[in-house]
């Protein structure tokens, strides 16, 4: 049959070349979006820890300004003298010194600025309170006496600051850990008294128990007094050295060295010194505790909380989902009812996550937690132990949220186990259960892990349900620590996702916290990728071991 003549366009179309282009460009768009996302996050977040140059300038009508230029832009301004709109440039300065000047950031119009310079002796201080301080070091005072000025003062500051910091840390440790322990013991002893009153009838036994607890309280109280005295002593020691500083516009400020977290002269720093500073800041960010309502310092508790919560969720979701999938695929009689269950499970994946949060609050926190409290911690009531949001309930809520993913992935991978393998096993006299355990489960493990990876990716990034089941702004006490019984799954916890929201939109100093949002996002991405990579590596190992290619 002669071929009907076709235009070049038709020929190309029928060969499907347009489809290659279409699919290719769709992929390209996806890749671009991912790259763009990473790029934006990295660009905005990575520069946060770099010691920026301090710029000093004269400002018309209001003296001098010293700070970091964070932004420069053009804007349109109405000029009242000639009734015209003119385009002007302005710069945003981060001026710090919240305790002196009140605001962290200032916009200055360029016509008002003159004589910009970068003074080498400008000092930047990171403090425990009130954010950064930018200014000049005048002198170092010891017990109220001036002991060094000028160049010598800076040297003295660098010498004394780590020591003062050490003292401050020791004081903090006593206040937090040691006194915390004593308080905990006293609390437990008080509970012992209550318990004794509930459990024993009045009599010798009860009196003995109460007397024992009272004695504990007595000794612990003494210990508490001793620790408090120690802390006070250290507090005084920390106040010994004080830095006398001047701001750019001439105001005096005295800061005890113990309150200075880090002191540096950014304009005098070499590149390697800046790199060192950067590395130290990154380390503090990853491993340190948050300060100043989370806008400064580290986010270790949030990282830890995210990881522990994700792991707890995985531990809960995998057995649950896998068992459900096995029942659905292998035991349930396929029919209308099972089809309904499948549809319901799939729809569960589309339910808004906050709905799961509300369910978690109602079921886990109030019902399950409340029951646990009534049964096992009656002496603590009305203070709830498990009857309030906590990492366990948040993890279980997320497990529920992600269980459809695991069920679907497991079902698919069970279905992909070759029939021949199952029949071979059954033909050898294995029971159905033995076949499932020894043949089907190992062969479907990679698929199950794929489900877990997807579940973790979803769970680690979820914030809304956590906000009502246990996440808090600040929880320095981790869910796993050295205090008996080491795992405290009733504790509230911090989470990177919530941290981003909190720092970015709930902190008193949103402008200062903006870069922190991006850095935390970057870290959240790292954590999720790290968790997933671990699971992927395990999956590949298993896949190699249980390669079923021969059945294909």
């Amino acid at each position: 049959m002669p071929r009907s003549p076709k235009s070049a366009f038709n020929r190309t179309f029928s060969q499907g070349e347009h489809l290659i282009w279409l699919t290719g460009s769709a992929l390209a768009v996806c890749l671009l979006m991912i790259a763009g996302l990473l790029f934006i996050v990295v660009i905005n977040g990575a520069g946060y820890f770099w010691p920026h140059t301090l710029t000093e300038a004269n400002v018309k009508d209001s003296g001098k300004i010293l700070g970091v230029v964070t932004h420069t832009e053009n804007f349109r301004k109405f000029n009242p003298t000639n009734s015209q709109i003119q385009t002007l440039a302005r710069s945003q300065f981060k001026v710090g010194n919240r305790d002196v000047g009140g605001v962290d950031f200032k916009w200055i119009e360029h016509p008002d600025l003159s004589d910009r310079r970068q003074p080498a002796d400008a000092v930047a201080l990171e403090r425990e309170e009130y954010g950064d301080f930018f200014g000049y070091l005048r002198a170092i005072n010891e017990d109220g006496r001036e002991v060094a000025t000028g160049e010598a003062a800076w040297k003295r500051l660098l010498e004394e600051q780590p020591r003062a910091r050490e003292i401050a840390k020791r004081r903090l440790h006593i206040q937090k850990v040691d006194i915390g322990e004593v308080n905990h013991a006293i609390q437990q002893a008080n509970l012992d008294i209550k318990r004794a009153q509930r459990r024993f009838d009045p009599g010798a036994e009860r009196d003995a128990a109460i007397a024992k607890a009272r004695a504990t309280i007595e000794t612990r109280h003494k210990e508490f007094e001793r620790l408090r005295a120690q802390a006070n002593e250290l507090q005084a020691a920390g106040q010994r050295f004080v830095a006398a500083l001047v701001t750019a516009d001439g105001k005096e400020k005295e800061i005890p060295l113990a309150q200075i977290v880090r002191a540096y002269q950014p304009n005098a720093m070499s590149t390697s010194a800046k790199l060192g500073h950067y590395a130290a800041k990154v380390w503090e960010f990853v491993a340190g505790e948050p300060r100043e309502s989370n806008t400064e310092g580290g986010i270790f508790p949030a990282i830890f909380g995210t990881v522990v919560m994700t792991l707890l969720m995985s531990i809960a979701v995998v057995p649950f989902g896998v068992l459900a999938a096995f029942y659905l695929r292998e035991y349930a009689k396929q029919g209308f009812f099972v089809r309904c269950v499948r549809i319901a499970v799939n729809n569960l994946a589309g339910v808004p996550s906050i709905v799961f949060g509300v369910f978690g609050l109602g079921f886990f926190v109030y019902f399950v937690g409340g029951t646990i409290d009534r049964l096992f911690y009656p002496e603590l009531l009305p203070t709830p132990t498990y009857g309030t949001g906590g990492i366990l309930w948040a993890s279980l809520t997320l497990a529920l949220l992600t269980v459809p993913v695991v069920i679907v992935a497991t079902e698919e991978s069970i279905a992909a186990v070759p029939r021949g393998a199952k029949e071979g096993s059954l033909a050898l006299g294995a029971s159905k259960f033995q076949t499932l355990c020894r043949i089907v489960l190992p062969a479907s493990l990679p698929g199950i892990l794929t489900g877990l990876i997807l579940a973790m990716a979803r769970g680690a990034g979820e914030v809304a349900p956590l906000m009502i089941t246990g996440v808090v702004k600040l929880a320095p006490n981790l869910a796993v620590d050295g205090q008996f019984p080491f795992f405290h799954f009733d504790r509230k916890f911090m989470h990177l996702g919530f941290h981003i929201y909190d720092v970015g939109f709930q902190s008193p100093n949103v402008e200062a916290a903006k870069p922190m949002v991006f850095t935390t996002t970057l870290l959240l991405l790292f954590v999720v990728v790290a968790l997933n990579l671990t699971a992927i590596v395990i999956r590949d190992k298993i896949r190699k071991k249980y390669r079923t290619g021969a059945f294909a």
């Binding site: 006299g429 020894r438 021969a550």
Partner: protein, 282 residues
């Protein structure tokens, strides 16, 4: 031992019947007691009937071959003997089957015990993704045997029994999936004989293999027949002629003719059988 014959798929040579067996007289065979019996067995998948009123008996320690065109129900019948059809939904079975005197579809039949007595080798070799050793030990392990000595011994005897020992003895701990197709099928046979069944069902065990591997499997079957009863489904008439003592010819779910292999291939009673074995159809 026997030389390999011409490629069975090449143009049909003159049929060589019972070429590689020790000749047993038909009287000898007829004296053997029957171990599998089917009576009025019918089976349907939903609406379509796959087996129609099959009545036959298979004798102990002989090789019985099922031949017939595709879809004639021979595999389905085979799978009735160890109840592998249980796995398929929507199946109805009527009639009765006895294995070793026990009723297969009876209420007190323990399927697991039945399958230990009636081993099976499948068309596609299906070793588990485990080591060669574990593949053979599998049947014993699921039966609860943990003694390493017993397992070791069983692995060796089974591999020797399946003529695989010399090839596999140095790689027992390697994955079974690294074996060639023919070796994998012999491994599956070794796996089946490891649990010491009385009967081995073979569902076209050599159909996916090359002539050399096929030859090895056939030699093996002739060897195994001394100890086991073998029922083999095959598409290959020459194979049936070479290795079986009895042959059953099925067509569209019906048992057309069932007799000594020599008779089926030289002097069939039915026209349909003659047409099929001489290659006039099918």
């Amino acid at each position: 031992m026997a030389t390999i014959m011409t490629d069975p798929l090449a143009s049909r040579p003159k049929l060589v019947i019972n070429a590689r067996r020790t000749t047993e007289s038909s009287e000898d065979l007829a004296k053997r007691k029957s171990i599998i019996e089917a009576e009025g067995l019918s089976l349907s998948y939903g609406e379509s009937r796959a087996l129609k009123d099959i009545t036959m008996a298979m004798r102990e320690r002989v090789v019985t071959a099922f031949i017939g065109p595709s879809g004639c129900g021979k595999s389905t019948l085979l799978r009735c003997f160890n109840r592998m059809n249980d796995l398929i939904d929507g199946i109805t079975i009527r009639g009765r089957v006895w294995v070793d005197g026990q009723e297969v579809f009876g209420p007190d039949m323990d399927v697991i015990e039945l399958r230990k007595k009636v081993g099976m080798v499948f068309q596609k070799s299906n070793p588990f993704p485990k080591s060669i050793y574990e593949n053979i030990a599998y049947g014993l392990r699921v039966a609860g045997i943990k003694d390493k000595r017993v397992l070791d011994e069983s692995v060796e005897t089974s591999l020797r029994g399946a003529a695989l020992w010399d090839e596999a003895k140095d790689r027992l701990q390697e994955s079974a999936l690294g074996l060639s197709g023919g070796q994998q099928q012999r491994l599956c046979i070794a796996r089946a004989i490891a649990i010491k069944p009385e009967i081995i069902l073979m569902d076209e065990p050599a159909s996916a293999l090359d002539p050399i591997a096929t030859g090895k499997i056939e030699d093996l079957i002739l060897d195994l027949k001394k100890e086991f009863t073998i029922v083999i489904v095959t598409h290959n008439m020459q194979q049936a002629a070479r290795i079986s003592d009895y042959t059953a010819f099925f067509y569209l779910g019906e048992l057309i003719e069932y007799d000594l292999t020599t008779k089926i291939f030289t002097n069939p009673a039915k026209k349909q059988t003659e047409d099929y074995v001489t290659g006039r159809f099918g």
